[in-house]
């Protein structure tokens, strides 16, 4: 484990709705199916529902239709607007969803509307055929027969009741003499197979109201016993009260019906004194058949009468079913399009998130089908990408730290290379210069443009030409490492280099480049020369000085011996011995200078203000130069740091350089320069902060030194003046060298010589 991974980010699913739950969908589907079944059931039972309820049902169905229609338009409008908006916003899969929804709607709406139209026409046609003329006649005839049968029986009972009312003696009825009346009633019942006669007498009740009193009843033997006397009583009273016939049909529990007719019995002045109720029994079979025919007739007539609202109910139910199918299909199309596109859309969003570097992005699988497998695969891919990314990140960090380390090491090496006095030039396999350190730039006078250039071109410069054979030897690779001492003439002086070239070879033995190392051995050579000269000087001083004293003593002895000699002889001896003594003295002085050069002590270094030392030293020349024509100018840098030096030796350096300049200008009374300028000696000090050196520059505007003689100036016993020991500048160089510094000579402008002494700052 590289490090603890953060918890994965699960894609926010704000749009997850209850409708995405399969259980909710199943419940909705069941409700819709139930609604459809209910509509079909209503459709099948429309004719059986009471018409009062059918109106309510019709408007209920119409309300449902309206609701479905509004829902359909709302769903369509909402989603059309949404699709249009998504397309305007260039939302992913918007076009695909629009096409899918359009195809599903086209597949649904067109057939549904066609079915609705054709179905409506079929219903209308069927309704028209329900009420055909033959059916009308058939139903009406059946109704006529059944009602006529009832009415005939009712009429028969009425006739018998009227006849009996006329037959019964009014006074006997009024008297309530049952014994007289009973035979008459029995005679009437004799020919009646199933019936009953009930006789009543009119009486006055306790409140003065008219009432009836039951006198007798005679019934056939096969009359069902479940008839109710009270109904007959009520009918008799009604007839007595109205004074005319009253009829009723009393259904019996046994299934039949009792057709009753009550006829008032009138006395002479036409006043009802009683009533006779004649009943005729119709058995249940007849009653049921007649009632069935009547019900069929009434149903038929009701259908015919209320055809329009019933047809409307059918059409409303049919339209409702169609709208329900349309709404369901539309919603299903939209739902399917979402179900199809949403996971793909989420995958696309996930891919974009992964592409944006959000590797901990995860998708939550909504289903366990192929789309769910795809989401799982996506999540696995994201996890693997994340692991790979983490490994890469770790590798990158390792590499970065190594690069930093390598960079630090490279900087360290470059710093070392830049700081070392040894010049290093690296070449690539093609012979182009890859790196040049500061020492090499300084030694060879190379600029930044040398980088990348072919070494053969860069070193073809005239002053660097001696290096070319060395470079060529590199590519010959024989031998692999070459060391040579090369002398370059740069800036009118010689630079002695110990140059070493080494071929760099790879593991396959092929040359990958070369390194050219240059050591400036000029100071070493100079020191070797000085040491040699010191040895020579010491030998000369030793070998020459010893015989000089005897020579001088001998010459003086000879002079004393010939002091009394003849004048010609004395003159000759005096002249010769005088010359011998003079030359011996000169030789002694020369030998002393050699001895001094050979015995020069080491410097005693102390921090000294160089400017003050210069002022003090120049003060010595005050008397000499006061009456002359020479000008001495000073340009001493302010704030010059103290320099660790031997004041006496550096004073000697200043004196030697100034003396040299005075001599070069022609002495203290030197004439003006050919250009009219006065003979001038300028002493200047500067501080080189970068190289931590203090420079003393002595300039004169004399005739200058030819380039060929410049290097020789610092050699012992070399003098351009034709007199002196020629050790002045050699001593100067030696002192400066023993102070860790250096001295260079160059041309002044327009004429003259510049001596530059560099001393390390304290």
């Amino acid at each position: 484990m590289l490090f603890d991974p953060p918890p994965p980010v699960v894609a926010p699913d704000a749009r997850r709705r209850p409708l995405d739950n399969p259980r909710v969908l199943i419940v909705i589907a069941l409700v819709l199916i139930g609604l459809l079944v209910g509509l079909f059931w209503l459709s099948s039972r429309t004719s059986e529902i009471p018409l009062q309820l059918s109106g309510l049902m019709l408007y209920s169905v119409l309300a449902v239709d309206l609701l479905l229609l509004v829902t359909l338009f709302f769903v369509l409008a909402r989603n059309l607007v949404k699709l249009w908006y998504d397309q305007r916003q260039a939302a992913p899969f918007a076009r695909f969803r629009a096409k899918l929804v359009g195809a599903l709607l086209a597949m649904t709406i067109v057939p549904a509307v066609l079915v609705l139209l054709s179905g409506s026409e079929i219903i209308r046609g069927s309704a028209a055929r329900w009420f055909s003329e033959p059916v009308d006649q058939l139903v009406a005839s059946a109704q006529l027969i059944s009602s006529r049968y009832y009415q005939d029986h009712q009429e028969a009972t009425a006739n018998r009741s009227r006849r009996l009312a006329r037959t019964l003696p009014a006074k006997d009825v009024d008297a309530g003499d049952v014994t007289l009346l009973n035979p008459i009633v029995k005679a009437e019942m004799a020919g009646t197979p199933s019936g009953m006669v009930e006789l009543y007498r009119s009486v006055t009740g306790p409140g003065g109201q008219r009432d009836v009193e039951f006198l007798l009843a005679e019934q056939a033997s096969d009359l069902p016993p479940d008839h109710v006397r009270a109904l007959a009583d009520r009918l008799a009273l009604k007839a007595v009260q109205s004074g005319h016939d009253e009829q009723t049909q009393d259904p019996l529990d046994s299934g039949g019906v009792l057709l009753r007719t009550a006829t008032p019995i009138l006395n002479a002045d036409r006043t009802p004194i009683g009533a006779v109720v004649v009943s005729d029994h119709l058995d249940g079979q007849v009653k049921v058949s007649a009632r069935r025919a009547t019900m069929a007739f009434e149903s038929y007539m009701q259908l015919r009468t209320f055809k329009e609202p019933i047809l409307a109910a059918y059409l409303a139910i049919f339209a409702g079913v169609t709208l329900l199918i349309l709404v369901s299909a539309t919603w299903l199309g939209l739902y399917l399009s979402k179900r199809i596109t949403r996971p793909v859309q989420k995958l696309a969003e996930g891919a974009r998130a992964i592409g944006a570097g959000q590797l901990d992005f995860r998708l939550e699988p909504e289903t366990s089908d192929e789309m769910g497998s795809l989401v799982e695969a996506f999540n696995m891919m994201a996890a693997e990408l994340r692991t790979s990314r983490e490994r890469l990140e770790q590798s990158r960090k390792d590499l970065e730290s190594k690069n930093i380390e390598v960079d630090a090491r490279r900087c360290y090496i470059e710093t070392i290379l830049d700081r070392v006095a040894t010049g290093v030039i690296s070449l690539d396999a093609a012979g182009n210069i890859s790196t040049v350190n500061g020492a090499a730039e300084r030694l060879l006078g190379l600029g930044p443009t040398a980088m990348g250039q072919p070494a053969a071109v860069v070193l073809a410069r005239e002053d660097l030409a001696p290096l070319l054979p060395l470079v060529r030897a590199i590519w010959r690779r024989e031998p692999r490492s070459v060391v040579e001492e090369i002398t370059l003439a740069r800036d009118d002086r010689e630079v002695h280099l110990a140059a070493a070239s080494t071929v760099l070879t790879g593991e396959d033995g092929q040359a990958e480049g070369a390194v050219l190392v240059l050591d400036d051995v000029t100071p070493l050579i100079r020191a070797q020369r000085v040491a040699a000269w010191r040895d020579v000087a010491r030998r000369l001083a030793h070998e020459i000085k010893n015989p000089l004293t005897p020579i001088q003593l001998s010459a003086e002895r000879m002079r004393r011996h010939f002091a009394g000699a003849a004048p010609p002889t004395w003159t000759l001896v005096d002249e010769c011995t005088g010359a011998i003594v003079t030359e011996v003295e000169a030789l002694k002085g020369l030998v002393d200078e050699f001895a001094q050069f050979a015995r020069l002590r080491g410097p005693r270094m102390l921090p000294v203000d160089l400017n003050r030392l210069i002022d003090d030293t120049l003060r010595l020349y005050g008397g000499v130069l006061q009456h002359g024509t020479l000008h001495v100018e000073r340009e001493l840098a302010a704030g010059l740091p103290a320099v660790r030096l031997d004041a006496e030796q550096i004073r000697q350096v200043i004196i030697n350089l100034v003396d040299n300049a005075v001599e070069a200008l022609g002495g203290p009374a030197a004439p003006p320069r050919p250009d009219g300028e006065p003979p001038t000696i300028r002493l200047a000090t500067t501080f080189d902060d970068r190289n931590a050196v203090v420079r003393l520059v002595v300039t004169d505007n004399g005739p200058g030194v030819p380039p060929a003689d410049r290097e020789k100036l610092f050699m012992p016993y070399y003098s351009t003046k034709g007199r002196g020991s020629g050790l002045g500048l050699a001593i100067v160089r030696r002192i400066v060298a023993e102070h860790g510094g250096g001295i260079e000579v160059g041309d002044a402008r327009p004429t003259g010589t510049i001596f530059t002494v560099e001393l390390p700052a304290a």
Binding site: Q52, Y59, Q143, Q249, E298, F306, E308, P309
Partner: protein, 179 residues
């Protein structure tokens, strides 16, 4: 209910009443001693004739009369002070030729009769009296009121998409209550 001499004289503004009321149903309002309004009304027989076929088909036919006592307003809707519903149902038995007629008041059956005479049925279905309207507040003297009667028959033979506010007939009688 005892009908006493009227404390108030009902002044029917003939012109205004004719102008305002519908001519379908003839309404006669009477203000009684207790401040109640008792209305009688009769609908033209044409309504019964329209429903004749439906009645003969054996369907239970209902004539429902909504009777309202209202006070007119010129700036707002008329205010209803009292309302009641009187209804009559008829069921014809095609087998026996008998009509079963019932009268209802606010949903309660108050009278029922059987007959085979269609003329009696027509009278019972189309004429009502003693329809008492108990106003929610005492009638204001010299104020205008009216009694409106709206008839709705059910079931209907015709079909309309809009189920509300369609009366089969109506009548109105304006009066000024003078104490």
């Amino acid at each position: 209910m005892t009908r006493r001499t009227l404390l108030a004289l009902v002044f029917v503004t003939a012109t205004g009443g004719l102008a305002m009321m519908a001519t379908d149903i003839n309404v006669t309002p009477v203000v009684t001693e207790g401040g109640r309004v008792v209305a009688a009304f009769s609908a033209p027989t044409s309504f019964f004739e329209d429903a004749h076929d439906a009645i003969q088909s054996g369907v239970l036919m209902t004539f429902s009369y909504a009777v309202e006592l209202r006070r007119p307003s010129t700036i707002w809707f008329d205010r209803t002070l009292a309302e009641t519903t009187a209804a009559a149902t008829v069921k014809f038995d095609s087998l026996t030729g008998i009509y079963q007629v019932s009268k209802l008041r606010d949903g309660r059956v108050v009278w029922s009769e059987r007959t085979d005479k269609e003329t009696d049925v027509r009278g019972w279905m189309m004429s009502f009296d003693q329809i008492a309207l108990e106003p929610s507040e005492p009638l204001e003297a010299n104020a205008d009121y009216y009694v409106r009667v709206r008839l709705r028959m059910s079931p209907r033979r015709t079909f309309s998409i809009w189920p509300f506010g369609r009366d089969d007939g109506s009548g109105r009688k304006d009066f000024t209550f003078i104490r």
